[in-house]
Symmetry: D2
Subunit: 192 residues, 4 copies
């Protein structure tokens, strides 16, 4: 199954934190990516979500927006490793870097650099009915800002949110003990 559900170890990564496989897949599920979709991956980090999205939007295109130079390089490397031609890396910061991109059907926000509200404003003007934005929130402040935004724009968006907590069992001799992974919130907005 090239595409969805790539193992974490398969990606090239530096010291840039990477979304874990389980979270990456659940994010894709909430994104409802269709083969011809245009996808923005904002705060793309290592590009692990961009690569998965590019596999799903196989006849569309993914724009990976990343402001950090090390990240940009990693995305380029992962793009090459996985041979996904429909992935364009954009060095820059959202929402400014979004202005020149074609409108998208799906937006994924892995990092917002504290400008979430502005980014969602820009996304909103570029969305059509049914378009979806999926936000990975590792902080309470980002979660609260996302909920706050969707509540304040209930004319434009419906939303849902889940918290995901994964424990990985680790074999230690004759025993399996749980190793906790930090939980994350996934907030999904759908344009009305």
């Amino acid at each position: 199954m090239m595409g969805l559900g790539i193992e974490d170890e398969a990606f090239i990564r530096g010291k840039v934190p990477m979304t874990k496989q389980e979270i990456r897949v659940l994010t894709m599920v909430k994104a409802h990516i269709m083969p011809k979709d245009v996808v923005w991956d904002i705060g793309a980090g290592t590009g692990s979500m961009s690569v998965e999205a590019a596999c799903l939007a196989s006849q569309g295109r993914v724009y990976a927006v990343e402001r950090n130079a090390e990240g940009v390089s990693l995305i380029e490397q992962n793009k090459e490793k996985f041979g996904v031609d429909n992935l364009t890396v954009v060095e820059g910061e959202a929402p400014d870097a979004l202005k020149d991109l074609p409108d998208c059907d799906v937006a994924i926000i892995g990092g917002s650099g504290s400008r979430l509200s502005e980014i969602l404003d820009e996304i909103s003007t570029r969305f059509k009915t049914g378009s979806r934005v999926v936000i990975n929130c590792i902080t309470i402040q980002t979660l609260a800002a996302a909920l706050d935004y969707f509540r304040g724009h209930s004319d434009a968006f419906s939303y849902e949110a889940i918290q995901v907590q994964i424990n990985r069992l680790q074999a230690v001799g004759a025993y399996d003990m749980a190793k906790a992974i930090n939980p994350i919130y996934i907030v999904t907005g759908e344009k009305k």
Copy 2:
């Protein structure tokens, strides 16, 4: 996105308990289903995982094994609703009902009726290197039995296991409060 990540509401269900979307998708990810794979879905319940698997094994075939008559009927209904022709419903109980099926590349165990060890024995003889079995464990006893089996057959299988806990945020007036979903363990064995 027909296939992976179907919404829970889309399935026809009676009183038969159904695996939640998030768990269903993570199970698919761990299963590594390829387009031409033969998949056994054991204890198929409503057939929600069979349908997802059939979308992934688009040129292969999924055998949904279910001993409960109401379940068998629901699987047939969901098969029709989602138009997945490569899904065969098998009324019967594992491991006996597995004897006449063609060998499989992937086995999914949603319910084992306390015969997990026998079922895994049968699966093991029908697997080739790299084949995968994914077990959804909602009880500690099934989890312990799965770990025990793989530890006792470490010559034949490697394994990994995760616990997944999802909380769904529910809007109540001006507030979002977490509604917990019962956690589940997903154990994956890979034939050496």
Copy 3:
């Protein structure tokens, strides 16, 4: 062990939601209640936390503030049932109802009726160095407001916060399956 760790079933409760034992105890732990302390229990509900606090502040006094008449009656009943004389029930709404109370060493906030910031302002003026306020947050908005308050008043308070998720194993025939309880955040502020 009269006092800390009373079983849920021991309390008289109507339809008023009650904090579960595990959360109640962890709240008490974070509160650092000493025998001679004055404690405010704000949004006291059934009074289950007031009763526990009154056992710990055995030579002090607990003021249970509750605006809901059914709650007030339940607190009175639980006070009588557990024979805690050092518990005073105050019908009214915080922060107004706090004005006439003696200064406190510990404040517990189980419910804030969306006036959390005002309540914390009042508490702050009545606290001395080392005094503690513990807030049970079942909504993201209350959690965010609590964090926001303490971050905005870092001259006056240090804080810590935990999320607690409990799964209770339920015996079903030969199996034990996890039944999830909704998670809660416990935020603790200590006056500098």
Copy 4:
């Protein structure tokens, strides 16, 4: 609040893993320790639970059983630091080391060195109706063994079990992000 709810940092600890405050307190709650109780703390580690138990059994006595020499030394140091005279350190391995101890009202099992069943047999013969044993399980195998024992001895014990998962919010600049702590199961048996 000397006793229940001592902060983790207050204990002297080496490289011996220590039960976290929240788990320690919930274990105490499940143990129902009364002032005159005799308590066995089996696999006492650093003695953090022994010290808490000794505060609760203020007119009773706690026997801290530990086979590891470094652990024994740490328990002695913590005993002295917290000034709990009613704590006796026993170097040895359960169940053998239990033979010479006076009967107990409460047993806490933090570590069982894979001899859980034998230890519970010994405890059972030394218990009277209402006596309680609380087992902290960090592995699935210990959990399964505990459940298996109580199910196999349902004439002698009733039991309950919870899983506890705590996430600690960590302030990172303007944000609070969750840091997961490994979950634990707490199984409690009560002698019929």
